[in-house]
């Protein structure tokens, strides 16, 4: 017998369940308990760059909206810097780059306000197109689903993005592109997520 490798195994995941709001967004569950809930303000008041809104809906394999989903967003600031000690560079005071969003219980629509991130470093000196990393949990999702939101008006950068180009089915790449529109003078990006079926969103094992 060889020596035993003494790595620990990752704790197994379990679904967030239908009552995830109690823990992660208690206000939405119907009660106030914390001084402040986390994840409502992604960019903070001092962030430079373009203020945008991102909206969408999560759709299941039957074509129905998923109304009990919770999404977390993780992004760099407009200069392409993540608010993390391992990323060289500065972020604006109050910029965390992380947010948490839940759906409207009636319609399944969700949305958040932030700034458009800049391009960020990829592997081996490459650059990645501006994107927001998303993590999706809900009842019926046994382990959180990771995907990325890219921007429709970054055609050149998207075409050169090393992650988009990993997806060999070119028609599936479109599932990662949020479509730019406008409302009241503000940029609104639409990003619907299809968990299953036709135009199923690309999910990553990160």
């Amino acid at each position: 017998m060889p020596q035993e490798l003494n790595y620990l195994k990752e704790t197994p995941s379990q679904t967030a369940g239908p009552y995830v709001h109690i823990g992660l967004a208690p206000g939405a569950a119907g009660f106030d308990i914390y001084r402040q809930e986390l994840g409502w303000d992604i960019a903070g008041p001092n962030a430079k760059g373009e203020r945008i809104r991102v909206e969408g809906i999560v759709i299941d394999g039957t074509g129905s909206p998923v109304k009990d989903v919770l999404i977390e967003a993780w992004q760099a600031n407009a200069q392409g810097v993540y608010a993390h000690p391992e990323h060289p560079g500065e972020v604006e005071d109050g910029f965390r780059g992380w947010g948490r969003v839940i759906t409207d219980f009636e319609t399944g629509e969700w949305g958040f306000d932030t700034v458009k991130p800049g391009p960020v470093p990829g592997r081996s000196g490459s650059m990645m197109a501006p994107h927001i990393n998303l993590w999706i949990v809900a009842r019926g999702i046994n382990i959180g689903l990771n995907t990325r939101l890219y921007f429709s008006n970054e055609e050149q950068a998207n075409a050169a993005d090393p992650v988009i180009n990993l997806i060999e089915w070119e028609n599936r790449r479109q599932t990662l592109i949020a479509r730019r529109g406008a409302r009241g003078g503000q940029a609104v990006y639409r990003f619907d997520i299809r968990l299953q079926g036709e135009n199923e969103t690309v999910f990553f094992d990160i």
């Binding site: 990752e10 704790t11 679904t15 986390l38 394999g61 470093p121 968990l195 999910f203």
Partner: protein
């Protein structure tokens, strides 16, 4: 040039698959295409950082964080404690742990929960805490009750506490559930049984920990959490970091 240290790949045979038909809700909510495997970039090895401005000291005490002054929730008083480690066995200090649970009767304080067990006026059912410098965390709460749910006609969830953990990187993000030693409902639960390996299921069962009880006050259960670990920097084609 930026050269992050990568995380060990997730063991997808150990983790539950997306599609697990005995847990019926997963059927329409599981992707049919294979996940695209992504080597880590800056987007995956970074993640949100939390500090003591984000949480209050009372937030980890579910016995008092929603109770009226001088009152307590009904139920078995417990300490839930443990450590957050990575796969290398290193503690993860200052990482955010959030929990939510039903009350002792198995009822959630949630506008969508209509189970006939009563709401406890002194119990909110959520808590959060940052691990200390050695990766330890603890909560005071009541042991949650089992509750029925619509899957098969007669499914009951074992007593469980939902747990959300961050680590230092978005790649480590995890939500799980903590069960309690000795519960006969664990083996019968379709959600537990989404996990293929019985050894992995054991990892979600907190043992009774008499050493950590508070005599004449609260009984204790220990629940250690392991998040993904990172490569060290031995090789030329490595990504640097850690």
């Amino acid at each position: 040039m930026l050269k992050p240290g990568e995380f060990y790949q997730r063991d997808r045979e150990w983790q539950p698959p997306a599609y697990s038909p005995d847990y019926k809700t997963s059927v329409a909510r599981s992707p049919r295409n294979a996940l695209i495997s992504l080597q880590n970039s800056m987007s995956e090895i970074t993640g949100p950082v939390f500090g003591h401005n984000d949480v209050d000291p009372i937030d980890n005490d579910l016995l008092s964080n929603y109770a009226k002054p001088g009152e307590s929730p009904i139920g078995e008083r417990i300490i839930l404690h443990g450590r957050v480690l990575d796969e290398n066995g290193r503690p993860l200090p200052n990482t955010l742990v959030e929990i939510w649970q039903a009350n002792a009767g198995g009822r959630y304080r949630h506008k969508k929960d209509t189970y006939l067990a009563p709401i406890d006026p002194n119990f909110g059912g959520c808590g959060r805490v940052l691990t200390d410098e050695n990766g330890y965390y603890h909560f005071r709460t009541v042991k949650p009750g089992a509750y029925p749910w619509r899957n098969w006609v007669n499914n009951w969830r074992p007593a469980h506490i939902h747990m959300s953990i961050f680590g230092t990187a978005f790649a480590q993000r995890l939500i799980t559930q903590c069960y309690f030693e000795g519960d006969p409902l664990i083996a019968r639960c379709p959600i537990v049984n989404t996990i293929p390996d019985p050894k992995a299921v054991e990892r979600l069962i907190a043992p009774l920990d008499l050493n950590a009880t508070i005599p004449l006050d609260a009984i204790a259960y220990k629940f250690d959490i392991v998040l993904r670990g990172r490569r060290s920097t031995l090789f030329e084609n490595r990504l640097e970091g850690n």
